[in-house]
Symmetry: C2
Subunit: 439 residues, 2 copies
Amino acid sequence: MAADITKRIAALKAELAELEAQLPPPVSPLAPAAFPDLPLIDGVRFATAEAGVKYKGRTDVMLAEICEGAQVAGVFTRSTTRAAPVLRCEEALAAHTAAPDAGGKFAILVNSGNANAFTGGRGFESVDALRAGVAAALGCEAAQVFTASTGVIGEPLPHSRIETSLNGLVGALDAGHARSAAEAIMTTDTFAKGAKAELELDGAVVKISGFAKGSGMIAPDMATMLVYIFTDAKISQSVLQRMLWLENANTFNCITVDGDTSTSDTLLLVATGRADMPVIKDFADPRARKFRAALQGVMRDLAQQVARDGEGATKLIEVRVTGANADGPAHRIAMSIANSPLVKTAVAGEDPNWGRVVMAVGKAGERADRDRLTIRFGDILVAENGRVAPGYTEEAGAAYMKQDVIVIAVDIGLDSGKATVWTCDLTHQYITINADYRS
Amino acid sequence: MAADITKRIAALKAELAELEAQLPPPVSPLAPAAFPDLPLIDGVRFATAEAGVKYKGRTDVMLAEICEGAQVAGVFTRSTTRAAPVLRCEEALAAHTAAPDAGGKFAILVNSGNANAFTGGRGFESVDALRAGVAAALGCEAAQVFTASTGVIGEPLPHSRIETSLNGLVGALDAGHARSAAEAIMTTDTFAKGAKAELELDGAVVKISGFAKGSGMIAPDMATMLVYIFTDAKISQSVLQRMLWLENANTFNCITVDGDTSTSDTLLLVATGRADMPVIKDFADPRARKFRAALQGVMRDLAQQVARDGEGATKLIEVRVTGANADGPAHRIAMSIANSPLVKTAVAGEDPNWGRVVMAVGKAGERADRDRLTIRFGDILVAENGRVAPGYTEEAGAAYMKQDVIVIAVDIGLDSGKATVWTCDLTHQYITINADYRS
């Protein structure tokens, strides 16, 4: 009897695998309804090409040309095994920071399909060849070309395929090609990610336009994240860099899909300075605060889109921690909850399993007192005073868990430290995506 | 067409779920061939009962009686949300440490099915009632009763069901009941875990017998680990505690299934002193070293059995890190690899995906230099000098990954720090076990 069932199960699984392979990869159920209509940013033009780095029948290279006089800020993965393009970007940014008004155009070149990571000395040869190629085709300094590569690790980048497409890319540059740029840098993202903002500074309308890729993956790619944000605002490099660093801490550093850190994460913010406004060169300038708020909106939107496209995601989870003894501990507690496989599988199963939230607070290594914890799912009070809340019912919890966006709110009850992070649930599809043999 | 496929897939999945529910939970393919024939330990007797705490038709309570004059050592979860039984055990151990020769019998009472965690003041009431009950039934001090509870979190422990079985338990005590004791404390473990050792000290044969539960789980239980080890050796409490602490660092603290820390982890080591030998009261005593080596063998065996029974496990993974700048960093790098969902899913898919190992080294936050890393799968040299090894082939790597036990060896190339940890792969079965709605 059991043997019959086992045999039938094997047959069903074989048929399932065959059928599922016939379907196109599904778009995340958490994807926004549409890609936003990104504004043109004066001083920035994009082009894309099919270089055939790895994928066939789709674009896989993106070139952005940035006008003379622009300022560039950046943050990069802190991995100790980061890839050659990241190391070269760090050098380029350091040189730009040291002489922000040296002049000359900038360029960004990104390929998908190959991460050019752990490729030894050949990795740098590829980056240097591409920077020289872009410089020649575009008429800029090679030192002002930022590159990124995302995809498989450990395979040499066939950079000559990209080199042959450079002249065509330069000929196709257009300010309106932001969306196709966002598409060209996707790996196994299930949707392209864009976000925008407009604000008024000194009477001038200033625009922000950004796009990102991330959290889609085919073995053996990392959950690589690349983000490019452009604005026509006129802001000094040091102020731009400081704003980016601060808002990165509030946005992209507040998302996690699986706790695994890419070798290639790159976030660049470009300000062309073409807006009709006096330059912002002081962080205390009230216009800096206004710009920063708009920038935060764009970055948070993109960061949440990355979490929404987390591998296999069916739920977006927002973890809000308050009442910790400081903001840092609050962030670490929130990440402990957001990275807990037990919390994430419970959400996937629509199980209001608050005991696992207690567990994740307890393992975070931060100050916490069991008897002061308050846990809420959305507005539903679940637990307080070291035990389940008197009015809580499993039915109310279970009904709440049916939603697409789940808010887990934990008050530690000690002080005023707080943090919010975003993640997604952990589903069978995550295993399917990542346990498949690469081919 | 796609709609037809989608419909058929849904039908297949429904049938699969129905059939799988009819099968008994499978025993881990990594289980040892048999439970070992545990030696009798003079001075220790066990009994089990079906108290019906949660499970029906199986034992769920275990009582161990320990003779007067024994010494007890223990380590517990460091979770800040640890359960009431753990907190009471810590008090009992502190009192025993302060007066190790106070006399009187000891007892250990364990129930499965309910963790008595996050149950507020009622949690302590339950523990105190059970300790008083055991003390009365057995004729010992309540302060010398160690309890543990493992299972669902947040539900009050129905301790009266256990209380009514106490007199029966005392009547059934027998030195030969270690195996049934190991079975009674299981939750969703797929096999009972035992290990033993014998050694000669001063001409006397000294025996060690231990059992453990852990890493099996049904929502919402934690990956709770309980371990009880008994010996007839004569060892002072301070030496016993120091040995346990050191070997715990080398064994149980070197395993991980999902990086989630239980609220209930408890490890007790009991030395009855009934062996015919002079007491070991100095850690520098050469006999202490000999005993410690045997103890390490038992603890490592049990620890690996826990990893082998990790939820959904199909592969045991040994991660060996050498060449780090110290042992602590080596351990943290090894744990970064062992806890990486991307590494664990790659092993599940039998994918020799060394790029993910590079990634996990890079994210560990410890000193590492990409170009000095050496990575091996078993004896196969995979990568060195910052790139794939010249002689490495995917075929060799893929063939190696078919094995049940996978060794991932990483040399950091900096200094002599080293660590070894064990984990299991991350499979669909892990998601199935943990995303099911608790009922």
